[in-house]
Symmetry: C2
Subunit: 255 residues, 2 copies
C-alpha cells in the first residue's frame, strides 16, 4: 500500500441540507441517504480530477465499491446542513482507499468511513489492476486516514431473521448495476421492525461480493452475534444460485 | 373555490443539482426523485409561512397529498441544475390547490404539476375542513395556475400486469405514514421492464385513496387502455383487505 503526502491533495467537500425524504419517522437522516451523500462526494471528487464514472466508461472501466466501514456517532435531523468531506487515502495494486467525514451544523464529527474502490473491466465484469492513468491522485487529505477495514465478517447464526427484497427499476444505476445504497437499505429492511424502532445504527462494515440484476429476488438474513445483542451479522444472497451479494456486520445502540 | 390575487404571493423556488442516485440507468432524473423535489419545495413553502408539517403536528393535524397530475416535457440529466417553483393556487372548503413548475439549466419548462392538499386530523386519520389559521396563504404565484385535475381515473383492464411490493422501513415518513414518492416508485416498478426500457413517462395523474403501513404487501396492477398502447391505468391495493391505496393513469412516449 503506497501512502503519499503530496502538496495538492484531492480533497472534496460538499454541504447537504437534509430533505424530508432523507429522514426516517424520527426525523433522523437515514442510512441510505447518508450512503448516497458519501457516494455523491466520492463521484464529484473523481469527476473534478477528470476520472468520473463517465470518463472511465469511455475506457471500458468502472469504479466499484468493494467494502465500506462506516461509524455514525450522532444523527443529524431534517433541515440541518451537514458537510461531507472525502479524500483518497492510499492505493495498492488492485484498489484505491477512500476516507469520509461528516460534520454537523456546529462542526462536530457525526460520522466517518473508510472504503475500498477497485476498478472493473465493464465488458468482462472483472477486477483489473489499477491502471497507470488513474495513478494521478494524491493522498492523505488534511488529516490522518482511518485504518482500512480488515478481517472476515462473521455470518448470521443458524436461525436468522429472514426477509425478501427485489431489485427494482430504480435500484439500477448508470453502471447498469445495483446502486450501492440499495444494499444498505436492504440490510436495514431485513432487520426486525421491533428492533429498528428501539435502536440506531452505530457502525456498519459491509462487503460487496457479487452483482445483482433487475428483477432478482434477494434474501436478507440477520441475527445477533452470540451473547452480543447489539452486534448483528448480515448476509444478502440470491436464492436462485445461492451466491452471496453482500455480507455485513453492524453495531447498534438504544435510541 | 376561492381565487385571490394578493400582492404578497407565497411563491417558493429552489435549485437542485441532480445527484447520481437520482438518475436511472440512462442518466435521466427518476420520477421518485422528481416527486421528492416537488414535495421538498412544497414543505419549505409552507414552513416559511409557519405552517410546516411540524407546526401542524403541534395542533394534531397534517398535510396530505390527495392527487397530483404531473406532466414531464423533457428529462434533465445527472449533474444538471433544475429550478423548482411552487405556489398555492387556490383553496376551497376541504383542500388547498398547489402548482409546480420545473425549469432546466437554460430556463426551459421541463415539467409542471397541479396537486390537492387536504388537512387531516392525526388522531382520527380523517380529513377536516380547512381550519381558519391555515387561510393565510395568498394565491396565484406569478403566473396562471393549471386547471386542477378532475374526473375519475380508469381502472386497469381484466388481465393486468401484476407486481408485489412491500412497505419498507424507509418508506415511512415523519407523518408516520408512507411517503408519497413511494407510490410513484411502486407504480413504475409495477410496469413491465421491457416497456420501461423503451419509453419515458410523459404524464401521470395519481390519486391517493388509503394509507398503507410498515410491512404491508401491496399489489400493483397495470394495463394499457384499450387501443391506446401509450396510455396505462394503474391500481395499487392491499390484498389483505382489498382496499385501494392509489389509482393512477399514465401517458408514455418512446425514448
Amino acid at each position: 500500500m503506497t501512502h503519499q503526502n503530496a502538496p495538492h491533495v484531492h480533497l472534496h467537500r460538499e454541504t447537504f441540507v437534509i430533505r424530508a425524504n432523507e429522514v426516517d419517522a424520527q426525523r433522523r437522516l437515514t442510512l441510505p441517504a447518508l450512503v448516497n451523500y458519501l457516494q455523491e462526494v466520492a463521484n464529484n471528487n473523481v469527476r473534478l480530477a477528470g476520472m468520473s464514472v463517465y470518463d472511465l466508461h469511455a475506457r471500458g472501466l468502472a469504479w466499484v465499491l468493494a467494502r465500506m466501514k462506516l461509524q455514525i456517532f450522532a444523527y443529524p435531523h431534517h433541515g440541518e446542513a451537514v458537510v461531507v468531506k472525502t479524500f483518497p487515502s492510499a492505493v495498492d495494486k488492485y484498489q484505491f482507499y477512500r476516507d469520509f467525514r461528516v460534520y454537523g451544523p456546529s462542526g462536530q464529527l457525526l460520522a466517518q468511513a473508510t472504503s475500498t474502490w477497485p476498478v472493473i473491466d465493464l465488458a468482462k465484469r472483472q477486477m483489473v489492476s489499477v491502471p497507470d492513468f488513474l495513478r494521478v491522485f494524491t493522498f492523505g487529505g488534511d488529516e490522518a486516514p482511518l485504518p482500512p477495514a480488515k478481517g472476515k465478517l462473521l455470518p448470521p447464526g443458524p436461525d436468522p431473521h429472514q426477509h425478501v427484497c427485489t431489485v427494482g427499476w430504480y435500484d439500477i444505476d448508470v453502471n447498469q448495476h445495483t446502486n450501492n445504497a440499495a444494499y444498505f437499505r436492504w440490510l436495514v429492511e431485513g432487520m426486525p421492525p421491533w428492533f429498528l424502532a428501539a435502536h440506531q445504527l452505530a457502525e456498519v462494515d459491509l462487503q460487496f461480493r457479487n452483482e445483482s440484476n433487475l428483477g432478482e429476488a434477494i434474501t436478507v438474513q440477520a441475527s445477533p452475534l452470540p451473547a452480543e445483542p447489539l452486534e448483528w451479522a448480515h448476509r444478502l444472497f440470491r436464492p436462485t444460485d445461492g451466491k452471496d451479494l453482500a455480507t455485513a456486520q453492524t453495531t447498534w445502540r438504544p435510541n
